[in-house]
């Protein structure tokens, strides 16, 4: 594991070696199809169900309320499309927010082309949905509200419990995309009282290619992938046993180690924030600084552009991400940063530092050392930096 200077844990995490160990037996030995008849198939089935229990425990659900998918994106699609198609006779209106992950936003755009109406709630400058706005947006035809738990770019944590209560007060189902929060902070489906919740394995040191959906027992949704009746008919396809076992182990470890990780990573993140603000002038911290994922720091470094910063840092071995258009392969910068009111140039100049359990204090010191000269050089190239006329 060569993880020095990796600061992009919100994008994906390395699989924990203990998770890899746990999966090892499920490739060539316990590889049997869980729905087959013979005893070895029973062992595979048992492994899948044990993983389901571990995940249920992490989010305080019942095992039978956990359904496996191929990842967070599929879970989001299943929740939103599945509810929309299930309830299309009842109504066609969906409410979500402007700062959701593309897995939600693009799914909603698709539904808009197919007879559904979608309200995209704005957020305030810290990234919060306003509960009043939510209340005002609910109509007779509203069938689903989907608001993410923690934002992947700025880390802002929404008051899901309050928002779900508003939904339920009006008899509307509530989904939350908890891909960034599950396994990082305590997530309790009973406490939040959500109907549907998405999560993903590779964000919490589990393998890629597997995720899950919590679905409250009494809630009915339509599948999006049909076939052999796996996952009680909600998601067909031969079970990804090693993936499921891996995600189960990752969930178990997350539950055990979450509190300690929070302590360590919060301290590292806070130090990074303090030092960056102290060493580099004209930096904006994006997202709420209180209700925020403890591992996430998003800053806009004024007058320079994010991809250039990433490239300079990459030369020195640092892996980070940016909300600049260039690094995201689209023309517009991060929709999240624009939604919290950033000017285009400040969104282009953003840097997301997301820490994880393999980050050390040394990593952090190195980044604190490396960033100021990079910024200085790029600013010296910029027409907007001191002595220039400012942005045109």
């Amino acid at each position: 594991m060569e993880l020095k200077y990796y600061f992009d844990y919100n994008a994906t995490t390395p699989t924990d070696p203990r998770v890899v160990d746990e999966m090892r037996a499920y490739f060539s030995d316990n590889f049997h199809n869980p729905s087959s008849f013979y005893r070895r198939a029973g062992e595979a089935d048992y492994a899948v169900e044990t993983a389901r229990e571990k995940i249920a425990k992490l989010v305080n659900a019942e095992s039978r309320e956990i359904f496996f998918t191929a990842g967070g994106t599929e879970s989001d699609n299943l929740a939103v499309q599945g509810t929309a198609y299930q309830l299309k006779e009842k109504g066609n209106h969906i409410i979500t927010s402007q700062i959701e992950h593309p897995a939600i936003l693009k799914t909603c755009k698709h539904l808009e082309k197919n007879g559904f109406e979608v309200t995209y709630l704005p957020v305030d400058k810290n990234g919060f949905v306003n509960p009043e706005h939510l209340i005002e947006s609910i109509k007779d035809t509203t069938i689903l509200i989907s608001i993410m738990h923690a934002n992947n770019e700025i880390g802002t944590i929404q008051p899901i419990k309050e928002l779900a209560a508003i939904a339920h007060g009006k008899g509307v189902l509530f989904h939350t995309d908890a891909v960034q929060s599950t396994g990082k902070i305590p997530v309790d489906v009973k406490e939040l009282d959500v109907d549907l919740m998405s999560f993903s394995s590779h964000k919490i040191y589990g393998p890629k290619g597997v995720g899950g959906l919590y679905k409250k027992a009494k809630v009915k949704i339509t599948p999006i992938i049909f076939g052999g009746g796996h996952e009680k008919g909600l998601r067909a396809g031969t079970e990804n046993i090693h993936g499921i076992v891996g995600m189960g182990k990752a969930a178990e470890l997350a539950l055990l180690e979450m509190a300690q990780e929070e302590k360590t990573l919060r301290a590292l993140r806070d130090r990074l924030q303090k030092e960056i603000l102290a060493k580099i002038p004209e930096v904006i911290v994006n997202g709420d600084t209180d209700k925020r994922l403890y591992n996430t720091l998003n800053v806009s470094i004024k007058y320079i552009e994010g991809e250039s910063i990433l490239a300079m840092l990459d030369q020195q071995g640092f892996a980070l991400s940016s909300g600049s258009a260039c690094s995201s392969k689209s023309l517009d910068p991060s929709h999240v940063l624009l939604a919290i009111g950033l000017k285009h140039e400040d969104a282009h100049g953003s840097l997301r530092i997301s820490l994880g359990k393999y980050n050390t204090a040394e990593d952090v010191e190195k980044l604190i050392e490396a960033l100021p000269p990079v910024v200085e050089r790029l600013r010296s190239m910029s027409p907007f930096w001191k002595g220039s006329d400012g942005p045109g």
């Binding site: 250039s308 690094s327 140039e345 010296s380 190239m381 027409p383 220039s388 942005p391 045109g392």
Partner: protein, 126 residues
């Protein structure tokens, strides 16, 4: 994703910065799209005696700026005018398709700077 040439120009570019009392300045691009390029030129005897850039933008924007400056320095003004975005991109051993617009910006920056110079020559202050 970027060629070695692009990364060299990005890392080692020395052509950046203002020219005080430039004879022409070209300001192109906008912050919405994330790339802004300012090209400064100093003209002597119909040739571009000195040129510099200031760029807010991605790796490709900085590298094309730097390459464009290399290409026009010492050139007669009218030859500099004929430099195309393709020529800049080729000189950098190519650009990813989604970054070709940066080379367009470089071409436009040069043209704008020379235009500005010519206007001033016509007695029209910029």
């Amino acid at each position: 994703m970027y060629s070695k040439k692009v990364m060299e120009h990005f890392k080692n570019s020395a052509n950046y910065g203002k020219i005080e009392n430039a004879d022409g300045i070209g300001k192109v691009g906008n912050t919405r799209c994330g790339d802004v390029m300012w090209i400064y030129i100093k003209v002597e005897d119909g040739k571009i005696a000195d040129a510099r850039y200031e760029t807010f933008g991605c790796v490709a924007a900085i590298a094309t700026s730097s390459m464009a400056i290399d290409m026009i320095k010492g050139q007669p003004v009218d030859e500099a005018l004929s430099i195309t975005n393709k020529a800049v991109a080729e000189a950098l051993d190519g650009l990813p398709p989604e970054k070709m617009h940066c080379s367009v910006l470089a071409e436009e920056g040069i043209k704008a700077a020379i235009e500005d110079y010519k206007k001033r020559g016509d007695g029209v202050p910029s």
